[in-house]
């Protein structure tokens, strides 16, 4: 068993009064795509930047490819690729020129024309960076992360600002580099991105790891359903407890606010029937009662009581 690509244990990072990362532990296996999923401000970028050697852990340990990213930075940097969330190029530099420059810092870079072409940047190779669209800047950022033929790439919100076609191209490229043996760690707050790409998902909220697993594990393989119940008047006191006892131990009930609840349970007609009967019994008038296959969004919601995106 080779050592993991990334091993974080008990990481703590604090800025002033704000605890950005709060005792985080997680592992990334080699050759996988691992998604770090969480809302904005959850500590995803801070965690990534600690792995990249930009920040020194205040407590806990971080090992990347077996190295300490802070103390063994010069040994680590040639082996990893980093895509920043934004920026990273001179405003007047041409796209191709920038990529060629990063390539020149590596010993065995990829063919930059091929890479530009693969990312749909062939047409804007001579365009100054400041005139590239947000999506084009993102793709150039990804190209810069890959050009040095790294073992491991960290990509921070890789498809933010991309149109749907560019997102698909990017996803296909990330799947291809995984197939070629590159480990990918990506942060995202898009469920569809994590569900489509990731072998392993770590859900982070308020600097803590709240769930880990494959997309199928986390959503119980689609065997569980979620019901979103929105009512016209605030729920009576003790409503979640009462509904929970009605549904039995297989279901989970999370009150989202005074007029909505999220119910996760077995995907059969029984759950929906029970919820609807409970409403009738307690004189609660549903405004809407929606049933769906459990998604990562629901998983996050039931773990934290808050929406993931936004």
């Amino acid at each position: 068993m080779p050592e993991p690509a990334v091993l974080i244990s008990g990481l703590e990072m604090q800025y002033g009064a704000k605890r950005a990362v709060d005792g985080l532990s997680m592992q990334v296996d080699r050759g996988s795509i691992t998604a770090v999923l969480g809302p904005n401000g959850a500590g995803k970028t801070t965690t990534l930047e600690t792995c990249e050697g930009y920040r020194r852990p205040q407590a806990g340990t971080v090992r990347v490819l077996g190295l300490d990213p802070h103390r063994q930075r010069s040994a680590l940097l040639p082996r990893i690729g980093v895509m920043l969330q934004a920026g990273g190029a001179w405003s007047g530099v041409r796209a191709m020129e920038m990529l060629d420059h990063i390539a020149a810092l590596h010993a065995h870079p990829l063919d930059t024309a091929m890479l530009n072409d693969r990312l749909g940047l062939a047409d804007c190779g001579r365009t100054p960076y400041r005139r590239l669209s947000g999506g084009q800047q993102q793709r150039l950022g990804l190209a810069m992360a890959l050009v040095g033929r790294p073992e491991l790439v960290f990509v921070d919100e890789p498809t933010a600002g991309m149109d749907p076609q560019a997102r698909r191209t990017t996803w296909e490229l990330l799947e291809e580099i995984r197939a070629d043996g590159v480990t990918v760690v990506l942060t995202t707050h898009h469920m569809d991105e994590a569900e489509r790409l990731a072998d392993q998902i770590h859900i982070i909220d308020r600097g803590r790891l709240i769930a880990s697993g494959s997309p199928t594990d986390l959503t119980s393989g689609g065997r569980s359903a979620t019901i979103r119940l929105v009512v016209t008047r605030p729920f009576p006191d003790g409503a979640p407890e009462s509904l929970r006892s009605e549904l039995g131990h297989e279901a989970e009930v999370t009150q989202l606010d005074d007029r909505s609840m999220l119910i996760t349970g077995p995907a059969d007609g029984g759950t929906l029937g029970t919820v609807s009967r409970w409403c009738e019994m307690h004189d609660v008038l549903p405004e809407s009662l929606t049933l769906g296959r459990a998604t990562l969004e629901d998983v996050f919601l039931s773990l934290t009581g808050r929406e993931l995106a936004g």
Partner: protein, 259 residues
């Protein structure tokens, strides 16, 4: 072997530094404002100064104005690139995350700094060539008594002057935001050009000559004039430049933030 099969590794440091220096020099020369600062303004100052001196009958201790003004304008050119251009470029590199991006590349920080210095010297040499030609066209006759002393003194003045001004420029860029750096670097340049003893000898400033001669601008101007007008090494001026270099390097090392 598939397309993306990992094959990581850093290029040899020499290759990395050369790539960085080429890139930075290219960007400096491509930027319109920087070119204005590097070439156009010094040429205008030289031509304008020579014409004005002729008309106003400016007394330059019996020397032909072009002989005194050309060394001063060479000093001005060094100052514009080493201080103003470097400060502005570095300020915006911090702002745009370029330094951060390079911070996760194999290029080490000393390599980045070395690349910057080489790019800077590259541009300075280019400026000096253009301005020397412009001066010669205007009738400049540098002192040829002892070319070895003159050239040696010029090289020493340019090296220490570049160091002092580059360290000051990095100090400004490291502590201020990009816009503030832009404003301060341009303002300081204009003030020093007008009253800093760089283009005109400090003796032209009357009673203010004493304090002005301690400025790095005056020291660089005096050192260049001593070398090219009087064929001598101005040890005091070089010492002043070294002092500024040490002070600014210390301040920069203490305060510079890469991000």
């Amino acid at each position: 072997m598939s397309t993306f099969t990992p094959r990581p590794g850093a290029a040899p440091l020499v290759q990395q530094v050369a790539a960085q220096a080429r890139m930075e020099a290219r960007l400096m020369l491509r930027n319109g404002e920087q070119l204005l600062l590097a070439i156009v303004i010094p040429v205008i100052v030289l031509v304008g100064g020579v014409l004005a001196a002729d008309r106003l009958g400016l007394d330059l201790s019996g020397h032909d104005p072009v002989d005194v003004l050309t060394p001063g304008v060479l000093a001005l050119a060094v100052m514009s690139t080493a201080f103003t251009s470097l400060a502005i470029a570095t300020g915006f590199e911090r702002r745009y995350g370029v330094i951060k991006r390079l911070g996760s590349s194999p290029l080490p920080r000393h390599g980045l700094l070395l690349g910057k210095v080489l790019a800077l010297l590259n541009v300075v040499v280019l400026q000096l060539v253009v301005l020397v030609v412009a001066g010669l066209v205007l009738g400049w006759r540098p002192s040829l008594e002892d070319p070895l002393v003159s050239v040696g003194s010029v090289l020493l003045a340019v090296a220490t002057g570049t160091w002092a001004f580059a360290a000051l420029g990095l100090f400004v860029a490291g502590v201020l935001r990009a816009e503030a750096t832009l404003a301060v670097a341009n303002l300081v340049y204009l003030l020093l050009m007008a009253g800093g003893g760089v283009v005109l000898p400090t003796s032209a400033y009357g009673a203010a000559a004493g304090p002005i001669s301690w400025l790095p601008s005056a020291a660089l101007g005096d050192a260049m004039r001593a070398a090219l007008v009087d064929t001598r090494l101005d040890g005091t001026a070089i010492a002043i430049l070294l002092g500024w270099g040490v002070l600014a390097t210390f301040l920069t090392a203490r305060t510079f933030r890469w991000e």
